[in-house]
């Protein structure tokens, strides 16, 4: 195996070779570390590379497998972890200056589960400061660049994870998603991103203040739908350390791969976000819907009564909850925040409790409406992000050009790139982004598929069928800098 072989590797392809000892974990780990050393300076996907830890874990994995103690599909698989999940002995910054030197003495539960499964943690990936934003233009750790075009953002807030996967610097990554943060970079980097049902994956060990309570989720980023199913099988489940985690039994998600999807009804979700969906993304999405129909699915347009209140509910709950987590640091270290982040939290401290409670009451209404909607249709679909990855310059200037119209990248409703994603943060319903084509500028576009609570298996079935029928996931970025 050589460095180029990594570009088309998946968990599903590598795991049998590791199990049968056709390839050693140390060999694979060294190859990925070598590639990170060569490629990461161009894209800044990793903020910390855990070389010594990864090599030691790889040697240990090889010894175990040689003794016949193969742990399962993730044994020896190289992962990266977004830098807002605590990792014992490895610096965890949350993309902030405040935590620049923090080295936790414990693992987040999701990291502990991966280690128990024998996964190899290669390092920590860059994110938007405190995960509050969708560009991963980070004032303290630098900008993560999109491997498809180095002048463009990789999305965010889990931008480092998206870029690392697109550039073949790991085979899977763990991210967090309170507005878009797993699905947005997945769409912009041409990979798969799953935000599972609220509580499906423990949030214990996620840095407080990087997602709040009501709308935050731990997510999975991979190259294929089947790989996402394999990872979810390992990391899902109730966690006594996380009182918000769900007790529902964990399904054998990998069995949903390859199931028939004929006759399933898909609701095309319409609403307040249409102004930020560009014509080319709409065309790409419409073509994806035609593919779904050719697979035997039926589609119809749907919406809900209180859809237009989604941004207000999302911003009110998340900002207030996040600001409360930052209270101490704002009192003692406010200059260690970027002005944009500090101002957002300080403004949130002025939101009256009556508004917060009203947001939570409307949230219940919206959840009930979505439950009702998913009695009519089995799944929901819409573009993951309304536009392909903008340039870093556009994001720094704060304006996007969507079909000749100037749109503010960020306004009181949050990021323009989050508006299509937030319905599933507000409701907690599972949603997955799968590559569905490319823009005229050659940037990936994603389609979002969602379902009712704990129906990740249904999403996997449809997304996998679509993925296999189209093959968008097989494309890789090119460039001399990647070799």
């Amino acid at each position: 195996m050589n460095l180029q072989d990594l570009e088309h590797l998946t968990i599903a392809a590598l795991a049998p070779s590791i199990r049968e000892r056709k390839v050693s974990v140390i060999e694979i780990t060294r190859l990925f570390l070598e590639r990170i050393e060569r490629v990461n300076p161009h894209i800044n996907a990793y903020v910390t590379v855990a070389t010594d830890y990864a090599l030691a874990a790889a040697e240990s994995a090889d010894r175990e497998i040689a003794r016949g103690r193969y742990r399962g599909a993730l044994h020896g698989i190289p992962f990266s972890i977004k830098d807002n999940f605590a990792t014992a002995g490895i610096r965890t910054t949350a993309g902030s200056k405040v935590l620049h030197d923090w080295v936790p003495d414990f693992d987040a539960s999701v990291v502990a589960k991966l280690k128990d499964a024998g996964a190899i943690i290669l390092g920590k990936t860059n994110l938007h400061e405190w995960a509050l934003g969708g560009t991963t233009i980070n004032p303290f750790y630098g900008t993560t660049r999109n491997p498809w075009d180095l002048n463009r953002i990789a999305g965010g807030s889990s931008g480092g994870s998206g870029a690392a996967l697109a550039a073949s610097l790991c085979l899977a990554s763990i991210g967090s998603d309170s507005a878009q943060s797993v699905r947005n970079p997945a769409a912009m980097c041409g990979i798969v991103g799953l935000k599972a049902t609220y509580g499906r994956i423990s949030q214990h060990g996620t840095v407080p203040g990087t997602g709040a309570y009501s709308c935050n989720h731990t997510g999975i980023m991979t190259r294929t739908v089947a790989d996402a199913a394999s990872v979810l099988e390992v990391v899902a489940g109730h966690d006594p350390e996380d009182p918000l985690s769900a007790p529902q039994p964990v399904a054998k998600y990998s069995t949903s791969i390859g199931k028939s999807v004929k006759g399933l009804r898909v609701g095309i979700l319409r609403g307040y976000f249409e102004e930020v969906v560009s014509a080319e993304v709409q065309r790409t999405f419409s073509a994806a819907l035609e593919h779904l129909k050719s697979l035997g699915l039926e589609t119809e347009e749907v919406t809900t009564r209180h859809m237009d209140l989604m941004p207000a509910v999302k911003v009110c709950t998340s900002r207030v909850e996040n600001a409360s987590a930052h209270d101490h640091n704002l009192r003692t270290r406010s200059r260690d925040y970027s002005p944009a982040t500090r101002n957002a939290y300080l403004a949130a401290l002025l939101v009256p409790a009556s508004a917060y409670l009203m947001a939570q009451r409307v949230r219940r209404l919206i959840c009930a409406e979505f439950h009702e909607l998913l009695r009519r249709v089995h799944l929901l679909a819409l573009p993951t992000v309304g536009f392909a990855a903008p340039t870093i310059d556009e994001c720094e200037e704060g304006w996007l050009d969507i079909d000749g119209k100037k749109i503010r990248r960020q306004d009181e409703r949050g990021g323009a790139d989050s508006l299509t994603c937030i319905p599933f943060n507000v409701t907690g319903f599972p949603a997955l982004s799968v590559p569905c084509g490319f823009s005229q500028t050659g940037m990936p576009v994603g389609m979002q598929i969602a379902a009712g609570p704990f129906q990740e298996d249904l999403i996997f079935s449809v997304a996998h069928a679509y993925e296999q029928a189209t093959g968008w996931h097989k494309r890789r970025p090119v460039g001399n800098w990647l070799n």
Partner: protein
């Protein structure tokens, strides 16, 4: 809103400049306008959403 920001500035000892306080006040005011729409929804008898699972609450 600027007065509220000034009170916050004093209480949290933030040492914000006037321009910084203006920016925060502007952001808080935009949020207030956005959240005002929430009060137009009919939520009679609807309690706030809490996602702690009943099995765990026990």
């Amino acid at each position: 809103m600027k007065e509220a920001v000034e009170r916050l500035n004093a209480e949290y000892q933030l040492n914000l400049t006037s321009a910084e306080m203006d920016a925060i006040a502007q952001q808080a005011e935009a949020g207030r306008r956005l959240f005002q729409k929430l009060f137009e929804a009919d939520v009679e008898g609807v309690p706030p959403a809490l996602q702690i699972h009943p099995a765990i609450k026990k």
